[in-house]
Amino acid sequence: MTQLNELKNGEEGIIISFNGGQGLINKLNAMGVRTGKKVTVISDSFIGGPVTIKIDTNTVSIGHGMASRITMEVER
C-alpha cells in the first residue's frame, strides 16, 4: 500500500480507500476520483506540489496534502 503522493511519473495504481471524512470523499467522487478506479500519474508531486493523474480520459490535479490521504495499490 502506498499513498498517491508517493507515486512517480508514469506509475499506475488502483484507488483502495480515502483517509478522510465524507466531505472529502464526495468532493473527490464528483471529480471522478473513486475507489476501484485505475489511475496513471502524469505529473508526480514535485517538492510539495500537486499530483496530476489520469483516470480513463479524465485528468485531475490533486494537492499534495489531499493526495497523501488517498491509498493506492501499486503493482511494481
Binding site: 471522478g32 506540489g49 496530476t52 490533486i62
Partner: protein
Amino acid sequence: MKVLLMGNPNVGKSVFFSRLTGTSVTASNYPGTTVEYTEGHMRWKEEIIDIIDVPGTYTLTPTNKAEEVAVEMLTEGDLVINVVDATNLERNLNLTLQLLEKNIPVIVALNMWDETHHKGIEINVSKLEELLGVPVIPTAAIKGNGIKNIINNFNYRNIVKRDYENTEKRWAEIGKIIEEVQEIKPGSHSFLDYLEEWSIKPLTGIPIATFILYLSFKIISFIGEGLIGYITEPFFETVYRPVITKLSLLLGSQGLLHDLLIGQLIEGKIDFEQSFGLLSTGIFIPLAAVLPYIIAFYFILGLLEDTGYLPRLAALVDNIMHRVGLHGFSIIPMILGLGCNVPAALAVRSLESKREKFIASTLMAIAIPCMAQIAMILGLVGPFGGKYVTYVFVILAAVWIIVGLLLDKLLPGFSTDLLLEIPPMRMPSVGTVLKKLWMRIYSFLKEAIPYVLLGIFIVNLLYIIGIFDILALVIGPFLNRFFGLPKETTSALLMGFLRKDLAMGILATMELTAKQLVIASTILAIYFPCIATFAVLIRELGIIDMLKSTLVMLITTLLVGGFVNFAFQNGGITILGWLIIILAVILTKFIPDFNNKKIDIKS
C-alpha cells in the same frame, strides 16, 4: 419559455450558448448573490425564449455559492439541456443522473462528439438513450454540429423522475451504464496529447508557462500600443479635436461652463490629458488611453481561458501559492484582477475557507493593479523609460510576496488543498472568444465612462469650491514628508477611491519627476481598492473582514511609500533597499505560526 444549459465546467457550455443565442447577451447577478450567469435569447417558433448559461457544476449537492445558484435556478426552468463531455462520460453522468432525479424535463447533449473518435472512445448512443430514458443527442458545438437536433427537441416535456437513493447507488448505476454503452480503445498519442502532459510537469511546464506569459504580455502591449498609436489618438486628434475646439470657442474659451465641459486650455489649446473637462479628458481617458489595453488584455485572456491553459497554470503555481496560504486555483482571481479587480473579487468566492478568501482578496486588491491603471501607468511613466514601469511592478510583486507570507503566518483558520480538473487543450472558437470579448468591453465602458465623468465633475467642483486647497494644506505636508510627493497629489489620491485611471490622469496634470511617479503609481495601487471593488469585497468578506483588510492596505501603503521614497535613488532601488526587501522576506520565516493551517479534510 426558459431553457437552462447545465453541465460540468469545461464541457463547452459557453460555446453551446453562443451557438444558440444571438448578440443580445447579458451577464447578470443572481438576485441576492454575486454569482454571475449569462442570459441570452433566441427566436423559436414565433416565440422569444430565454437561454440561461447556468454556472458549471459537478454535482447538485452544492459545495460552493456558484453551485448553490445552479441548483436554485433549476426551479425556474422549463427544460434543461444537460451538456455532457462525451470524452469524459463517466464523470459527467454523475450530474446527469442527479438531474434525472429532479422534477424537470432533461435532454442530454453529448458534446465534443467529434473528439471521441481520435481518443478511441466509442459510445452507443441509442443504448445510452434507452438507459437514461431521455433524448441523447451527439453534438460538436464548436463546429455547430447537432445544434439543430437540440433545437428540434425544445418542446420535449417528459419527466422521468428517477430515484437512486444515495451517492453510492448512483455511482453503481453509472458504472453499469458505462459498461454497457462505452468502449475505450487505446488511442494514438497526438502532438497535442504530449503538449498537454508537458504543460503540467514542472520541469517542462515552467518554461512553457514563462514563454506563454511573456508572449501574452508582448501581444497585449503590441495590440494596446498599436490601437492607441494608429486608431484612438489619431481619431481624437483629427476627428474629435476640430469638433471640441469649435465648442470651446462657442463657449467663449473660458467661464464656469467651459471649465466644466472643456477644462483649462493649455497654451491656448485643448490638451486631452491635462485640460480635465468632461468632454475633453473625461472622454479621452476611458476611450483613447484605457480601452485599447482593455481590448488587448481581454482578447488574450479569452484565448487563455478557452484553450484550457489556465488550469494548467493553476497546477504549476500550486506550490508557490501554498506559501501564502492559498492553493493554485487562486492564480485565477489574480490574473482576472489584472483586467479589472471587480470580477477578480467575485472569483474569490469559489475559494472554500474564510481565511483563503481574506488572503486572496487582500493580496489581489493590494498588489494587482487593474488594466485601466496599468494603461495609465504605461502612458504616464513609460515616457521616462521602461525601467521605471518595471520598478512599479517589481515593487508590487515584492509587496504581494511579503504581505502574503505575513498573512499566512498571522491569520487563524484553515486552508484547503487543490482539487482541479485539467481539461484537454482545445482550439478556441473564434465566435465565443469574440462574444466574450465584446461582453467584457461593454461592461468596462458601462462602468468606466460614468465613473470617470462623475470623477472629473467632482474634481472640478472641489477645485472651484476650494476644498482641494484645504485638503492639500492638511494632508499635503504629510504626503510630502513621507512619500516625497507634492501636496497637490492629495487630489489624485482622493480620486483614486473612485477610479484609479482617473487618479493617474490627475497626476498627468502635474509636473512630477520619474521617482515621484513611481511612488504615486505604487501607492495608488496599494492604498485602497476603487469603490466598485470595495463594494463587492464588503459583500463577499463582510464588513469586519473588509475593515481588517483595509487596515492591512493602509499600513502597507505607509511602509511601502515611505520605503520607496527612501530607497529609490538615482533612478533605481539602492543596494541597501534590495537588502531590506530580501531581509523582510527572510524575517517572515522566523515569525511563529499563529494558526494550525491544517488542510481541512472534513469539508
